[in-house]
């Protein structure tokens, strides 16, 4: 029987990149228990966040978060609203650059490269790291043009219709839209729109896909379809999904990180989002190491 602290995926605060989970083999067994041996590839970090802090003006939204995102795994971020899940997610593809007043410190390494480093083009980062938003946000264009948008941006114009079809198939949307590719995307249902947004992101072949509560605006059936889709996509792309729905995290995520709003620094009034616990989903839900995680996952929170 392992102790709880041994199975934490949270790297030490001052750990250098690449020294995350791989240096803690004890955690692996727990994860592999849930998976067939064929799926049990070793964990390999795609993205390493170290001591990431994000401020909006004087307010701290994310405080000193360090964690690794692993290849071909679904990682869920859970926690109460306002604990900085969205903000942290947006540091991964530098979307916070666009928010006036947002200041990011710490290091986010993507395949070992600091995404905020000198000479790194945020455009390139965002092309490699896709994003799906909370509310479906298809462009007011045709279904085809939505999926082709990123392809055209990046000059991937050969076999455009083949690539569009491929992306729509991967997003499990092709059969529903193949006869209406020329129709405005706003005519699709909410769930179809969200899968279109997933297809749009997949079309440019990111190897990391960030999803911010992608099903929170959808009905239960559409939600189920998105969750099924995530399980299929897992083998092709690494996924980080923010969700406020713990059952969803339990259903789709291999690894789960729990965040909470806690006092940061000396002043009791200064509070910000803190990573409380990160580990294999099953462990986090059944044997949480931290009292606060336990309260949250058992519904005793707040």
């Amino acid at each position: 029987m392992k102790t709880r602290s041994e199975t934490s995926l949270t790297p030490a605060r001052d750990a250098a990149p690449s020294e995350g989970l791989l240096s803690q083999p004890a955690a692996l067994d727990v994860l592999f228990e849930q998976r067939s041996p064929a799926e049990a590839e070793p964990l390999e970090p795609v993205l390493e966040a170290r001591a990431v802090t994000v401020r909006y003006g004087a307010a701290v939204a994310v405080s000193d978060v360090s964690l690794d995102v692993h290849r071909n795994r679904v990682t869920a971020f859970i926690g109460p609203s306002g604990c900085g899940k969205t903000t942290l997610l947006r540091t991964f593809n530098r979307m916070n650059d666009l928010v006036p007043g947002a200041v990011v410190s710490g290091r986010v390494a993507y395949h070992g490269v600091d995404v905020n480093g000198a000479g790194v083009d945020p455009i390139e980062v965002r092309r490699r790291i896709g994003m799906v938003f909370q509310r479906p946000n298809p462009f007011p264009k045709s279904v085809f043009d939505n999926v082709a948008f990123g392809l055209r941006l990046h000059g991937l114009k050969d076999d455009l219709s083949g690539r569009v079809e491929e992306a729509l198939r991967r997003a499990a949307l092709w059969d529903e839209v193949k006869d209406r590719l020329g129709k405005n995307a706003l005519g699709l249902s909410g769930g179809q729109q969200q899968r279109l947004c997933i297809a749009r992101a997949l079309a440019v072949e990111p190897d990391l896909l960030l999803m911010d509560e992608p099903a929170s605006a959808l009905d239960p059936i559409s939600t189920t379809r998105i969750e099924d889709l995530l399980r299929e996509l897992r083998s092709q792309v690494t996924i980080v999904i923010v969700t406020h729905n713990m059952q969803q995290a339990a259903r789709v995520a291999d690894l789960t990180a729990f965040f909470s709003v806690e006092p940061t620094g000396g002043d009791e009034h200064e509070r910000g989002g803190v990573l409380i616990e990160y580990g294999p989903t099953e462990q986090l839900f059944t044997r949480p190491a931290d009292r606060r995680t336990e309260d949250y996952v058992t519904g005793r929170f707040g």
């Binding site: 593809n93 979307m95 666009l98 006036p100 455009i123 390139e124 965002r126 092309r127 896709g130 994003m131 938003f133 509310r135 946000n137 298809p138 462009f139 007011p140 264009k141 948008f149 990123g150 941006l153 990046h154 129709k183 405005n184 995307a185 706003l186 005519g187 947004c197 749009r200 992101a201 440019v204």
Partner: protein
């Protein structure tokens, strides 16, 4: 007997509550009042113009005379002057104004945007008579001495830029109108750009779009309807501006392709001759000019309404 309203009744007049009733009443009155004023105004203008309409008929529109002594009146040269100055002003102002609005909403940091926005708005606050005076004293002479000779020597093969330079004429009127149209179009375009959902822009940025690609791929298409409305309002301003144009255009009815020579517009002719009109038929002819101007503006606005509606529906995916 209490009964739930049948589905069919849901489509009936929805007012139930006193507050709603008052609001509908006030809004309805305001709308009806606006239409009433417009109708009365149109009727009045046409009534005033009736002697000229019955005497000259449709020929007024293409007749070139304007002679209070012989009582021969026609509008062709004025329509020409109005068309040239308004279209040139809109063509020059729209790219400038849209670029300024894009800069303010998409590019400029907030600290720079606020003062620039104020400056553009101040441009709209300059009384047109002051702008006209500047046109007489500064703009006209500068254009005649420096710009027109240069244009004539380099682009003189185009009829628009042929002819002798002159301090009063179409070109200063075009420039003055451009200055007047820019702030209107810029202010409305800015409002239109601000309505582009941040969601959509984020969606494009997240795909690795640059700022310009977001503008071209998301902001401009989303704003097409609003920008059309902005252009038409700018055109309306240019069509109707009288004072400043009167000051710089020279006041001579003339039909020439050159931007350099003196000319006149419908609005400017109305403003400059109504007071000094010597005969009833001249007053009626001036009212006829007003009627033509009114028809132009109404056609432009109704046309814009149709275009805006179509673009709006296309954006929302309904046909």
């Amino acid at each position: 007997m209490a009964r739930l309203p049948l589905p069919a009744r849901r489509r009936s007049w929805p007012v139930r509550h006193p507050g709603d009733l008052a609001m509908h009443g006030i809004a309805g009155l305001a709308a009806a009042g606006t239409i009433l004023v417009l109708v009365l105004l149109t009727v009045q203008v046409f009534r005033q113009a009736r002697p000229a309409i019955s005497r000259f008929g449709a020929a007024f529109v293409w007749s070139t005379d304007w002679n209070p002594v012989t009582n021969a009146f026609g509008a062709r040269d004025l329509i020409w002057g109005t068309a040239v100055t308004s279209l040139a002003a809109v063509l020059a102002a729209v790219p400038l104004a849209v670029a300024a609005a894009l800069f303010l909403t998409e590019l400029a940091p907030a600290r720079a945007a606020a003062p620039i926005r104020t400056l553009v708005e101040l441009l709209a606050a300059i009384p047109s008579v002051v702008l006209g005076l500047w046109g007489i004293l500064v703009l006209g002479p500068v254009l005649a001495q420096h710009v027109e000779p240069w244009l004539g020597s380099t682009l003189g093969f185009i009829p628009l830029f042929s002819g002798a330079p002159s301090p009063a004429g179409l070109l200063p009127a075009c420039v003055i109108l451009t200055i007047m149209v820019v702030p209107i179009v810029a202010a409305i375009s800015r409002e239109v750009f601000l309505t582009v959902p941040a969601d959509l822009k984020d969606g494009a940025y997240a795909l690795g779009a640059t700022r310009w690609e977001v503008v071209r791929g998301v902001v401009l298409p989303h704003s097409a309807a609003g920008l059309t409305a902005a252009v038409i309002l700018g055109l309306g301003r240019a069509l109707g501006e009288a004072i400043a144009v009167t000051q710089v255009i020279g006041g001579t009815a003339a039909f020439h392709a050159s931007l350099f020579g003196p000319a006149d517009t419908l609005a400017s002719r109305i403003a400059s001759q109504y007071q000094g009109a010597v005969s009833d038929i001249q007053i009626a002819s001036i009212a006829f000019l007003a009627a033509i101007l009114l028809v132009f503006s109404l056609v432009a606005n109704v046309g814009a309404g149709l275009v805006v509606g179509r673009l709006q529906r296309r954006r929302l995916g309904v046909r």
